[in-house]
């Protein structure tokens, strides 16, 4: 008897082929959909960074229009001790447009692109696996390797597009300069854009390689930590030589002498970074090909004691839910504070060897002994600490918001729990989590300051300004969540934090009026590490925190539950 097994099915009506354009961009292929899904992020990263470069470039040539002003600026920068150069770039040809641009701003831009790459590459397969859509994609007539590669090439292409936008912006910036050395050669613009893209891609590739094994959340955490740690270690290695061995294990350390806008190239280090990227991406692809889809290994973490899990009510539950996040931020900020505060002795010594700079600082901070741990932390810890505190608030708000975004609020509000109580309790839980972060951060600062010696109480109290800022940001997040939908709450806080950060950098560079810079809440705390507090910042933070929760509760009473 003839068997039907293996016999081709009856001819189906001929399917119309997918148009080429749709296979390149749209819904015609996995690659095309990756491009389509990334369009907004590409415009945001490429467009915003490109426009910022143009704006800053224009501001630099306007503010430092003469050779003499450039020379003075260069002398001033060179007089700053390495510890205070901190996270800025190396001081190379800073009298030129490109050199100053790279020194002052160039090192920060790869961080933004890296965060994008980490978020994109950690989720491109893992997030889709978690929500189940990958089951459908993988069940289609495409091999797993091809799925991974199409998604990967999609991201690489959009990152390349963003880098091209940055390259073109730099070419435009090069036309602004009128002084000798201001021209930015095409090879320098390309060198910077390639370096930025590679730094972003290598950070993303860490997340891509890990996501298949440990899941998206852990992959983001590890890749983000590796990236930020490398950035900070490299930034401070000149001032604290003990950090150099660790810093030189990172791509920031490898490429520290690749400063194309200043005319310094180190292509072998770029090739090394590219090689690591390829290896990590290959690991990610092979892991996806060989492993079970969606099966990840949890990184073992100690369980919380039952009392801290938060089962007694909504405040405790929100606190219990975000506590691991708060502990992670607290430990991170605490160690950061400890490392900075503990290196105060180096600062004091370097300050002693630079009397000119000592005089300059004394004119900026009159009646304050800058050669103390408090003064040191005010200069080095607080600005970056504020950004981290704002981002911490964003993650806590997102944790609270997940009640609604995940759908469990359906069940919570079906219990006798009023909408207002849910918002207020959530706010309470977030406040408690911020307290945890602050306790750990203050402890880190205290331990570090005690290593350096001198007054440790004032900087410990000053650290609480981070908590005030986090409270204010959380209040804004809760208000946004309550009124517009909790899905927007965490991103809104993160965006506001980043805008605040850029406001502090960009407003002075663009010569904008002081009022623009003062829109940032961070400018209203005074010099808390030195014991000089501005009541306006304290009051504004409390009003934003309490008012934000009140507005959130009011707004949430008036809208539909999202689901």
């Amino acid at each position: 008897m003839a068997s039907n097994i293996g016999r081709p099915a009856a001819a189906a009506p001929a399917a119309s082929p997918v148009p080429l354009m749709q296979r390149v961009y749209g819904l015609g292929s996995i690659f095309a959909k990756t491009l389509r899904d990334s369009r907004r992020a590409t415009i945001l990263v490429g467009g915003v960074l490109g426009l910022m470069l143009i704006g800053i470039g224009y501001a630099i040539v306007s503010q430092f229009a003469s050779a003499q002003s450039r020379q003075e600026m260069g002398d001033l920068i060179r007089s700053v001790p390495p510890i205070l150069q901190g996270l800025a770039g190396k001081v190379v040809n800073v009298e030129t447009l490109g050199g100053y641009l790279q020194y002052k701003y160039g090192t920060f831009f790869p961080i933004i692109a890296s965060l994008w790459s980490i978020l994109a590459l950690s989720g491109t397969l893992a997030a889709e696996a978690r929500r189940g859509s990958l089951e459908f994609v993988a069940a289609g007539p495409v091999t797993r390797r091809r799925i991974a590669l199409e998604k990967l090439f999609g991201h690489v292409l959009v990152l390349t597009i963003a880098c091209v936008a940055i390259f073109l912006s730099l070419v435009v910036v090069g036309t602004f300069g009128k002084l000798p050395g201001d021209a930015i050669p095409v090879v320098a613009a390309a060198g910077y854009a390639i370096w930025l893209g590679l730094l972003a891609l290598v950070a993303g590739s860490v997340a891509f390689a890990l996501a298949g094994f440990v899941g998206r959340g852990s992959a983001i955490g590890i890749a983000g930590t590796v990236m930020f740690a490398g950035f900070i270690l490299n930034g401070y290695q000149a001032a604290i030589p003990q950090l150099a061995p660790l810093a030189n294990l990172t791509w920031f350390g490898w490429t520290t002498n690749h400063i194309p806008l200043a005319g310094l190239y180190d292509w072998p280090s770029v090739v090394l970074t590219a090689s690591l990227t390829v290896v990590l991406l290959a690991i990610g692809v092979e892991a996806f090909v060989r492993r079970d889809i969606g099966v990840t290994t949890s990184i073992p973490t100690p369980s919380l004691p039952h009392a801290l899990v938060g089962l007694r009510g909504p405040t405790g539950r929100t606190f219990g839910h975000v506590l691991p996040t708060a502990l992670a931020w607290g430990i991170g900020l605490g160690f950061f504070g400890l490392a900075i505060a503990g290196s105060g002795r180096s600062f004091v010594e370097q300050l002693g060897s630079s009397p000119d700079f000592q005089r300059l600082l004394s004119s900026i901070f009159p009646n304050v002994d800058i050669a103390t741990v408090g003064g040191f932390l005010q200069l080095l810890f607080l600005d970056f600490g504020m950004i981290l505190a704002g981002l911490a608030a964003a993650t806590l708000v997102a944790g609270w918001a997940s009640d609604e975004t995940s759908g469990r609020l359906e069940l919570l509000l079906a219990a006798p729990l009023g909408r207002m109580r849910w918002v207020v309790s959530g706010g309470g839980g977030i406040v408690a989590a911020i307290v945890v972060i602050m306790v750990l951060t203050v402890a880190g600062i205290g331990i570090g300051a005690s290593i350096t010696g001198g007054d440790i109480v004032t900087p410990m109290l000053g650290t609480l300004s981070l908590g005030l800022y986090a409270l204010a940001m959380a209040g804004i997040g809760v208000a946004v969540g309550g009124v517009f939908g909790t899905g927007a709450a965490g991103p809104a806080v993160a965006l506001l934090t980043v805008i605040t950060w850029f406001d502090g950098i960009i407003a002075p560079a663009l010569g904008l009026p002081d009022i623009v810079r003062e829109l940032a809440l961070t400018t209203h705390y005074g010099q808390p590490m030195l014991g000089v507090w501005d009541p306006a910042g304290i009051v504004a933070s409390v009003v934003l925190a309490v008012g934000g929760v009140a507005v959130g509760a009011w707004g949430f009473q008036r809208r539909d539950l999202q689901g």
């Binding site: 938060g310 759908g407 469990r408 069940l411 079906a414 539950l561 689901g563």
Partner: protein, 300 residues
Amino acid sequence: MTAIIQIEKLTKTYGSHRGVIDIDLEVNEGEAFGFLGPNGAGKTTTIRTLLDHLRPTSGRALVFGIETTVDPVSIHRRVGYLPGEFTLYDKLTGGQTIEYFANLRGGVDAAYQGDLIARLDIDPSRKFREYSKGNKQKIGLVVALQHRPDLLMLDEPTSGLDPLVQQTFYEIIREAKAEGRTIFLSSHILSEVEKTCDRVAIIREGQLVKVDRVDALRDLAHHQVELRFTGEVPVGAFAALPGVSDVTADDHILRMRVSGSITPVVREAARYELLDFVSREPSLEETFLAQYGPQTGKAA
């Protein structure tokens, strides 16, 4: 009879998208009420409006005589709700999740809670994210049932449950009904509603098309029967049988629609040499869409 749920001219729209339109409905105390409709018909929108999770565009709904938008917490105190789709706390165990929701209600009868966990065969020590879809559904059922609510609102409650657990669920529902509690159950599975409900409402494209007793709905039910004969197909013998319609013959295969009892067809078929006998209960959608076509008017 006391009306536990009263829906009056309820309309809910999402911008230009339809939710439900002009719904009028009453569910009485102690009644098990089925809410049937295909996907996207408006079942979940109706339930979420009853819980004040959604606010009516116009009209109103009362539960226990309380308008849903006025004092939802008083309603929730007496309601047990299982959403159609939900996620709970990934990092909590099933037991911790159940404990938390019990605490939100000020505590529950631990013996009854334990009984539910045992009957639904739940391992409460596993993390929620590690559960299969069915086990997550069981946790949701315990959360909805553990405080012995006066009104159970269950949105497609057996979704993901294996047949054995489904039987346990039906048993629990029967017990709740025997205790005089009211059940409002949405489903698109006809047999589920037949097993558990006294009355049923059918909703399609946001509008109620029928509210009736389940017995009446049974009259809608039919079987699609397919017989494969070794020889000639006796079309006439089957076409004349009671309840048989839409008879078609194709080669040695006879197809027909059988309303009501299938016994006459089985008896007639036994007289012939058959290669195959296939009887298929059409989906609810097929059943009631066949009955209530696109031009159907409002509730009967």
